[in-house]
């Protein structure tokens, strides 16, 4: 009979280091592309600025006065249509290219929660947020190979099995490896709790979605490495917003997947 330990030490001392999303997430590939283009644009602009500042600084106060600068008179207009068109067209092309990539990422990150093909092989959980803690409800079973090599249901260190209907209220979320996870996010409303915005945020897979009282929102991600990762609350929810922590344990054999 698992004890209903009202306080779980491990959830509290978060410790360790978080180095941001895993390498296999779409976040990393996008970040590299965006970093590359930022460097290209940044370096081009700063070198141009440096050159102009050095090349065209004032030699002597009586440099030739161009453009008829006199107080009270609108100066001679300077423009060069081809130059202006180029630095309008070129950024537009770059932005359109980046928009195309961004559109791709949208389809992988935000999934239609009612699509059939996701429904069959996804591991369904419900994340319930309340003021300053998380409850996890499992709707599928985690199946792992135990030491004798046959498949059994996974048992948590505190002795509770993770199968359809089991509940985690001690700030620990257990997830299978290499299976797409579909998490429904709801806010606990049993009359007593004050329903405010929360947002489960798992930096390891670079995803978050707000828990909005009165609305069900969805998260979809696929862990590919086992281990223990952090779950933060990313939407300001009051006094202990910084204490609303949980640990995500990815269990089972990883790396067998594609």
């Amino acid at each position: 009979m698992p004890t209903v330990n009202s306080w779980n030490a491990s959830a509290q001392n978060v410790g360790g280091s978080t180095v941001g999303p895993a390498d296999y997430t779409i976040f990393r590939s996008l970040l590299d592309t965006w970093n590359f283009w930022s460097l290209v644009v940044g370096i081009f602009t700063f070198i141009l600025l440096l050159y102009l500042v050095i090349r065209f600084r004032e030699e002597s106060p009586d440099d030739p006065k161009l453009d008829g600068i006199k107080p009270g008179v609108f100066p001679k207009e300077r423009d060069n249509l081809t130059l202006e068109l180029t630095w309008f067209i070129v950024p537009t092309i770059l932005v359109l290219y980046l928009t195309f990539i961004a559109w791709q990422s949208m389809i992988t990150v935000w999934v239609d929660p009612y699509s059939e093909e996701l429904a069959e092989e996804s591991f369904d959980i419900t994340i319930e947020a309340y003021q300053w803690g998380w409850n996890f409800y499992y709707h599928d079973e985690i199946v792992v190979l135990n030491e004798t090599g046959n498949l059994t249901t996974f048992v948590t260190p505190m002795g509770s099995e993770i199968k359809d209907g089991s509940i985690g209220i001690d700030g620990n979320l257990y997830l299978p490896c290499d299976t797409p996870i579909k998490a429904k996010i709801v806010t606990l409303n049993d009359g007593g709790e004050l329903p405010v915005l929360h947002a489960p945020f798992m930096p390891e897979w670079a995803i978050k979605e707000d828990a909005v009282p009165g609305l069900e929102t969805y998260l979809a991600f696929t862990p590919k490495e086992s281990g223990t990762f952090d779950l933060f609350c990313a939407e300001y929810c009051g006094q202990q917003h910084s204490k609303m922590l949980a640990k995500v344990h990815v269990v089972g054999q990883c790396g067998t997947g594609e």
């Binding site: 009202s6 509290q12 280091s17 978080t18 976040f27 440099d63």
Partner: protein, 769 residues
């Protein structure tokens, strides 16, 4: 004179009553201990029906003494599980002292951070013995909080294991032997609230002393105090655009420093992991007030100050269109800060962050928003009124009072940027006013706009707020564009490159600013079709800004650039704002935004754009137009020192935040336990303190140069716009004879006068001259 005196004293008396009636809510910030009491509260079910009795709690403790506390839980309605398992639980906290288990309770009780709790086995019984050893210093009061929980044993079976239980709380405070002896003087470390209130009242006393000093310096010989009343009356009743501009400037400069005090306080809090320099309440209200003060009480009034001062001079008008409405715009803003800060004095400052997201901001009670939030929201409504009043003024003035020769396409770019900024603010503000009125009524008379239980929708607030929010951030940056265009052109001694494309880019930003607000809410459960639209439009917004940056660079081509302080600030703007603009491009991408939303990457981006953009632009404007306003230049050496420290400090503070954002450190966290973040955060705090100190150089420079600055004639920097044709400081009303602006292009017949460009063609009305 006597009638005026009565009026002035009655006004001050009313203000005094309003201040005295500031809410004396006496709930001091308790700041629950490190682990919070969420333990039993996750057991839902009726609270308070369980009775807890503790035997052996001493009346007063002597240092180092151990006391045996027998705790037992009973609840007639919940007899406990039939298998004598999962009967009860407890969680004991004490603000000092250490814990141990009673001699035959070693397997039932365990010591845990901040107190004690039951073990696995201890969960099956309902009474325990805990040994508490008192701390050595007896001069303090130790607060005990004990949560007792009668469990009905359904463990992981029916329901979710934590239903049907009942927990309640037992509190006691045991004074040390020396605590009560002789007046019980408690030695408490300085409460951060006292630090904040002391700093703010010090700022206000300093400000009033400076006020009297400036009055004294006007004419030291004829100085007498009842002259002060007349001089004060001039300022309280002024409607001249220059004096209202000065009021706006002094007001925003004061609040720039108050906002800075809050930021330094919570930077100290964030410098190390698991720090408790500030309690959670204080941290939450400090970051709320930092955000609101910096945007609404520092940046926007500074823009209004320069707009008030410079627009009439640049378009050749004697004064703004509606002088008294202009003065009312300032005074509504001035009084709104009393409401915004009303809660802080009583320890109940608003803690709902500057975005005031709905269900939390419309909630109250122990876990909800603090009591000062209602006053705070009332202050935001007043800010809305003030911006609407000044918005009408600026748009009417620019549209109707331009001198002959100052057509739409020959107006200085600062006036253009102020026009676009005020038009955007003016059109987007009603969405904020309506959202805030709904929130205000939710908190005062009990409407249910954002209450999910009665069908209300929290995302309605997010939509209404950000429909205003995004144009707002453009309102804050667009005037800085105008200032940089003016300063770079004058410093390079050339006209701005591509004046027309600059104006069209401004108009492009103005329009696009209204269709992109969704990128602030991409992960907040917004309608997915709308997320796609918002992502696409946000991508387009970078293009007009890119056009402007390249135009500024092209302006430097072929010029002879002088390196005055205002030029340095504008070049600094070019560097930091470009980096901010580039880091902004990371957010419209779904894959990146799901990670970056509400992390320190967002904080890094908007500080690069706000501090690197608006504050650098405003400082450039201060050094550029101070001579026109006072007739004396600011000290260049002090200016250089101020620029170098602030430029390096700004990058040192905000660049590491990008890395913290990538590592996933969430925003608005009172503290964090991830050790790898400590090193970056302490570096940020250190550089923030240095950068903060550097701002006093500017304050000193402003005061010193008013008397000892180098004389500046009408046109110290060689600018071309109309403000450089009047004397400095200009007469009141600003132009005795409305000037006519010449046009260097007519001599070269580049642009025939009549065409007047697309804009005026579009507006060719039947009656216009």
């Amino acid at each position: 004179m006597s009638k005026n005196k009565i009026r002035v004293f009655s006004l001050l008396f009313v203000v005094f009553i309003a201040l005295a009636a500031t809410p004396q809510i006496t709930s001091f910030p308790t700041g629950v201990g490190a682990n919070g009491n969420a333990g039993c509260t996750c057991h839902s079910g009726g609270a308070g029906t369980t009775t807890i009795d503790v035997v052996g709690m001493p009346d007063s403790f002597t240092g180092g003494e151990s006391y045996e506390l027998q705790i037992s839980i009973s609840n007639p309605a919940i007899p406990g599980g039939e298998l004598t398992a999962n009967m009860g639980g407890f969680r004991l906290f004490a603000s000092a002292g250490t814990f141990g288990a009673g001699e035959n309770f070693t397997d039932l009780v365990q010591e845990l951070e901040g107190g004690a709790t039951h073990t696995e086995l201890g969960n099956d019984v309902r009474d325990w013995v805990v040994i508490w050893t008192a701390p050595d210093s007896e001069g303090q009061i130790v607060d005990f909080t004990l949560h007792g929980n009668a469990v009905n044993g359904n463990a992981v079976g029916a329901g979710n294991g934590n239903t049907g239980d009942a927990w309640s709380t037992f509190e006691a405070s045991v004074p040390g032997a020396a605590a009560l002896g002789g007046g019980g003087a408690l030695i408490e470390q300085a409460e951060p609230y006292e630090v904040a209130i002391a700093a703010i009242s010090f700022g206000i006393t300093l400000f009033s002393l400076m006020l009297v000093y400036v009055f004294y310096r006007n004419n030291p010989e004829g100085f007498n105090l009842n002259g002060l009343a007349a001089w004060l009356k001039k300022w309280l009743t002024t409607t001249d655009h220059k004096e209202v501009g000065t009021l706006y400037f002094v007001y925003s400069f004061l609040f720039l420093f108050i906002g800075m005090i809050f930021s330094l306080l919570f930077r100290i809090q964030l410098s190390v992991a698991d720090n408790d320099f500030l309690t959670q309440d204080q941290y939450n209200s400090f970051f709320t007030l930092h955000g609101t003060t910096m945007i609404f009480l520092a940046a926007m009034p500074m823009i209004a100050a320069f707009a008030n001062w410079i627009i009439p001079l640049q378009i050749g008008a004697k004064d703004l269109a509606f002088p008294r409405i202009n003065a009312m715009g300032f005074w509504v803003l001035a009084f709104s800060s009393i409401l915004l800060y009303g809660g802080v004095m009583s320890g109940e400052g608003a803690d709902i962050s500057w975005t005031m997201y709905a269900p939390y901001s419309s909630s109250g009670g122990e876990k909800g928003a603090s009591a000062g939030t209602t006053l705070f929201v009332a202050g935001i409504v007043m800010l809305g009124m003030s911006s609407t009043l000044s918005g009408v003024n600026f748009i009417a003035t620019i549209m109707a009072m331009r001198a002959p020769g100052v057509t739409w396409m020959k107006m200085p770019l600062f006036t253009w940027s102020a026009f676009v900024a005020n038009a955007m603010l003016y059109i987007s503000l009603p969405a904020l006013i309506i959202g805030t009125v709904y929130l205000y009524l939710d908190r005062t008379i009990g409407t249910v706009f954002y209450t999910a239980a009665s069908g209300g929708d929290p995302i309605l607030w997010a939509h209404l707020f950000w429909f205003f929010g995004h144009p707002e951030v453009y309102v804050v940056i667009v005037p800085a564009f105008g200032i940089v265009s003016e300063v770079l052109a004058t410093s390079a001694k050339r006209s701005i490159f591509g004046y027309r494309s600059m104006v069209y880019a401004l108009a492009g930003i103005g329009v696009l600013g209204f269709v992109v607000w969704g990128h602030h809410m991409l992960t907040s459960g917004m309608d997915p079709t709308l997320r796609l639209i918002m992502m696409l439009t946000t991508m387009l917004v970078a293009i007009p800004t890119g056009v402007k940056i390249f135009n500024w660079l092209a302006t430097l081509w072929g010029g002879s650039l002088v390196f005055k302080t205002h030029t340095l600030w504008s070049l600094g703007f070019l560097v930091t704002f470009t980096m901010g603009g580039i880091s902004g491009m990371f957010f419209p991408v779904a894959g990146l935004d799901t990670h970056f939303h509400d992390t320190y990457f967002v904080v890094a981006h908007f500080h690069y754009v706000l501090v690197g953009g608006t504050i650098f632009g405003m400082f450039s404007a201060i050094y550029y137009w101070y001579p026109k306003a006072t007739g004396r230049k600011l000290d260049e050496k002090l200016g250089l020192l101020h620029f170098v420290i602030t430029f390096i400090g700004m990058n040192a503070v905000f660049w590491p935040m990008h890395q913290l954002g990538i590592e996933g450190m969430p925003r608005r966290y009172h503290t964090y336990s991830v050790d790898s973040w400590t090193e970056l955060n302490s570096f940020i705090t250190l550089s923030a303190l240095i950068m903060g100190a550097a701002q006093f150089i500017l304050a000193w420079n402003l005061i010193k140069s008013y008397k000892y600055g180098e004389e500046s004639g009408k046109d110290p920097w060689g600018g071309w716009s109309l403000e450089w044709t009047t004397t400095s400081p200009p007469p009141t009303p600003s132009f005795h004879e409305i000037p006519t602006q010449g046009d260097a292009n007519i001599d070269h017949h580049a642009y025939p006068e009549s065409s007047g460009g697309l804009f005026s063609k579009m507006w060719k009305g039947s009656g216009s001259k």
